[in-house]
Symmetry: C2
Subunit: 378 residues, 2 copies
Amino acid sequence: LTGFGLDHLPFGVFAPRGEEPRIGVRYEDGVLDLAAAGLGDVFRASTLNAFLAQGRSAWEEARDGARRLLERGGAELVPIASAEVSLPVAVADYVDFNSSLEHATNTGRIFRPGDPPLLPNWRWLPVAYHGRAGTVVVSGTPVRRPSGQWREPGAAEPVFAPTRRLDIELELAAVVGLGSERGRRVASGAFRDHVFGVVLLNDWSARDVQAWESRPLGPFLAKSFATSIAAWVTPLAALEPYHVQGPSQEPPALDHLRVDEPWALDLELEIELNGAVVSRPHARGLYWTMPQQLAHATSNGAGLATGDLLATGTISGFEPDRRGSLLELSWNGAEPLELPDGSRRTFLEDGDEVVLRGRTPDGRVELAEVRGRVEPRA
Amino acid sequence: LTGFGLDHLPFGVFAPRGEEPRIGVRYEDGVLDLAAAGLGDVFRASTLNAFLAQGRSAWEEARDGARRLLERGGAELVPIASAEVSLPVAVADYVDFNSSLEHATNTGRIFRPGDPPLLPNWRWLPVAYHGRAGTVVVSGTPVRRPSGQWREPGAAEPVFAPTRRLDIELELAAVVGLGSERGRRVASGAFRDHVFGVVLLNDWSARDVQAWESRPLGPFLAKSFATSIAAWVTPLAALEPYHVQGPSQEPPALDHLRVDEPWALDLELEIELNGAVVSRPHARGLYWTMPQQLAHATSNGAGLATGDLLATGTISGFEPDRRGSLLELSWNGAEPLELPDGSRRTFLEDGDEVVLRGRTPDGRVELAEVRGRVEPRA
């Protein structure tokens, strides 16, 4: 089982060497060129957006069409090694939630020791903010260490310098296909009509900058330099067999955030740092589910647009080896990680390479990886 | 003087009744159709974006071309009354700063009584967050009262209901024309190369929702339901004669935020509520200038994109009649405004109409208005 068989069929944008980008479906070690295979001219495009805007029946038709061609055999595939991928979606708005009870608790303990770790609103709504859509990049794009402003504890004045606390956040993100009209709420039950699929996402973060800049309006430059997503979008349909019951919510969600069917995703995730797996979070434990995130984001009548990303926020478990960020894994630098090569890490060093991975427990669906290497400040 | 003469020439998108949208320049009570006038096919478009992406020399050439045609006389103009305007720019990312010392001080006093009103970071950097680009609307678009979640003081549980504290924020926004490469800072001195012009902006806000949701990641649904901008973008070039020295900055800005020339804009602003002017803020007093905002937003290497909006945040003066939001004008509801019709307001009621205006002291440049009426929750 490779995780890229007929049960998966993720969509992305690729260019065979020297040719124009077009839309393909990844199958095993190859890519099916959908327009060339006769599945429609909407696939002769450099992003998925026009296809995504067609809605759910078009998504199902395309997936079925690709599956039939691949089952029949004989379809010509572009070897994945010679297909240069690009950002699959022109990102409209990027919303990042804070849906993991364990992550929220860990960060509360780290940043507000002595106070209750969860803020009063946390169990009532999936807290979120808007990130920068224009700096979302595809897996494989190098990430240059950002400079920023922060003040060391006890210092009188801040400095402007390359961040010393460059971090990652392991997340999943829902990719919105069908938009919605401004002024109308989208119920959680309409999730499958609006969301095409999911990707792994790395929300790179500069923790020193974040601590200094975030009051009172939240994170800005600490996050806006780069956010990496996978090159291949896993259709929701491929994950239907992997819905499980998530943690029970106490207090129960208010009516507009209620979801009746199980919507936790049974996905085993991994953070690899310089070739070593340093954490194994699990998506199943996320407190707030993606349909609740969608219902919340539109509960004020905000319209959705094709290409919106709704990310879960860092996915952490309570066990030390299931935390989704270096902030938590090193407990804000106090407990360095030991890597197999004998080196230690609190936050990322120049040249470090991070890979995020995820798969269903049976291995039938392997989420496309998110890879990124840290480049030094020029 | 109408404020829309040859010294101004703002750009926007309009459609004569029943025809396709195209780009025009507003002149007095008419609109010059730029493509029809022979100034280029880039103006045969439903947004300014492609034109803006051409950069500064193209902007100057277009403005000069329009001025020459209008000076010569005889150019056919579409009457403004029969020109239906639409959103001038496809908004990429929308960043909202918090640049007014007076607004930051007022909100600090209101929300953190007893504490120093300014947070430690405020004088060191222009605090900002990303707003929702997809819900930016053009002046004239009705705004439906959003529902949201909040908890009344002392209550055990939150409610989900139409906001009771619907507010406005008077702001200016810079419209980015030329993008920048990811990984490179844009110095404040390059402001004129990247920013095409400015618009008035109303950052509608639900204060009850904002108070409940904003920790720790900042405002989200309290702002994301609608943001209104003017239909006509005033080119920076039209405001060159109105640069004045802003407030001195103490402590001095760090090197990467330093600006040597005067960049405060001498613009008299107005908030009109149901036909009565309720506030007269002045843009001249803004602590952080637009070039500083731009330098800050890119100081971590975040790229700019054509269509980015960089908004100032609420523009307030200390005098009670120069505050830029109802939150401040009514001091969080404690001091209702008396309107000329005998009614009182703390926050907005259904049916209320707000108009934002602005002009240079000599009246030669009148910023296009931002108008919006509050519709009841359906």
